[in-house]
């Protein structure tokens, strides 16, 4: 077992894990933050996307020990009480989610995309979401949500 500590959603957390524990397992099973989901076993679907030191990453493709000392944000760390992050609000406003399962990863990827691109276009959003699979929406409203959310993030700066 290996002792690890990290900052998750602004709080210091510690744990003792087997080296084979995936970061997503640590988040879901040890920290009980079940908003981060697992939708596949080949690192393709993106339901598990979180932010690690400011970059979006698939938490199913990281060992928990690799995140030792990192600063992590999960879907639970975005809203301020009842007030959602502008990207979350944009997903609600544009009906960018249906069953909600891919949504946490989709939102985390979208925020990273908005953070790293000046002006997003539909094409950039569609390419930028390559690592996130949604089976419900056909992506139409997700794309609208991300474009809207990115503008709202910019406006809020």
């Amino acid at each position: 077992m290996v002792k690890i500590s990290m900052t998750v959603n602004g709080k210091n957390v510690e744990g003792e894990v087997s080296p084979r524990t995936l970061l997503v397992e640590f988040i879901r099973e040890h920290l009980k933050l079940t908003g981060t989901h697992v939708g596949c076993d080949t690192s393709q679907c993106g339901a598990c996307v979180i932010h690690v030191d400011g970059d979006s990453a698939k938490s199913c493709t990281m060992l928990a020990v690799q995140a030792d000392g990192s600063n992590i944000i999960t879907i639970e760390g975005l809203a301020n009480g009842e007030e959602m992050h502008p990207m979350q609000a944009a997903f609600k406003e544009n009906h960018g989610l249906q069953c909600g399962f891919c949504t946490p990863g989709m939102v985390m990827s979208a925020i990273d995309l908005a953070n790293k691109n000046g002006d997003l276009t539909e094409e950039l959003v569609r390419e930028g979401l390559e690592g996130n699979i949604c089976r419900c929406t056909g992506y139409h409203n997700i794309v609208k949500s991300v474009l809207d959310g990115a503008n709202a993030m910019k406006a809020a700066e």
Binding site: R20, D41, T61, L63, V65, L113, E130, G131
Partner: protein, 263 residues
Amino acid sequence: MYEFNYDKANSAADAASKLAASDDGKVLAGGQTLIPTMKQRLAAPEDVIDLASAGLSGIAVDGDIVVIGAMTTHATVASSSDVQSVIPALAELAGNIGDNQVRTRGTIGGSIANNDPAADYPAACMGLGATIITTKRGLSAEEFFTGLFETALDEDEIITAVKFPKVDSANYQKFPNPASRYALAGVFVAKTGSEVRVAVTGAGNDGVFRAHKLEEALAANFSADVVDISPMPEDSMIEDLHASAAYRKNLIGVMTKRAVQAC
């Protein structure tokens, strides 16, 4: 995933000695291939040695050579102004590997050491005539890539950096597998003076290869038109669910033409 021991290396030499000391060790770079493989229980190393703290990331320009540390992520290469100005095709290639999340974790050293037959970086190494620097030596791309998932690396040898020489012009065209988005056929064309190199990934049964006949034809006449009349590499083409050998052969031609046009 099976149980394993986890250790961190503080330098390349440290990693190499830890690897040498292990019966069945693997170095962990970005983990974007190794971790999925271990999750599926297709790899079961006894010891995993993490290179994150080994000080192997960074990009430097040394005259006409770009030196990229083995632990440099694809995202860093893609956004590097040095790489963009010296070898823009390399930055562009790095920016199209996998998805955003793979690019922020995946590294050049990890990709090259794995030598997946459908990976992008091996084509850049072969096409640009890169030198792969290890804890023991420097190897040309031709020496380094020895076959499907096979490299010239010794059991206790680790890539530390890759040196890419500047070329006059270069371009990489990838036709992705519709499901995995790995290359179904990827062609890297580089031209320096009268020398043309064409490296193909995704299509060959033995992994990345140079299309010598195409190179000769393009060296004589660097235009897309000669691609149509040049013989394509016939044998040893991967044939699978996603592409027949004939289709892959066609894609190599189309990707080569598009790369030549973009050069």
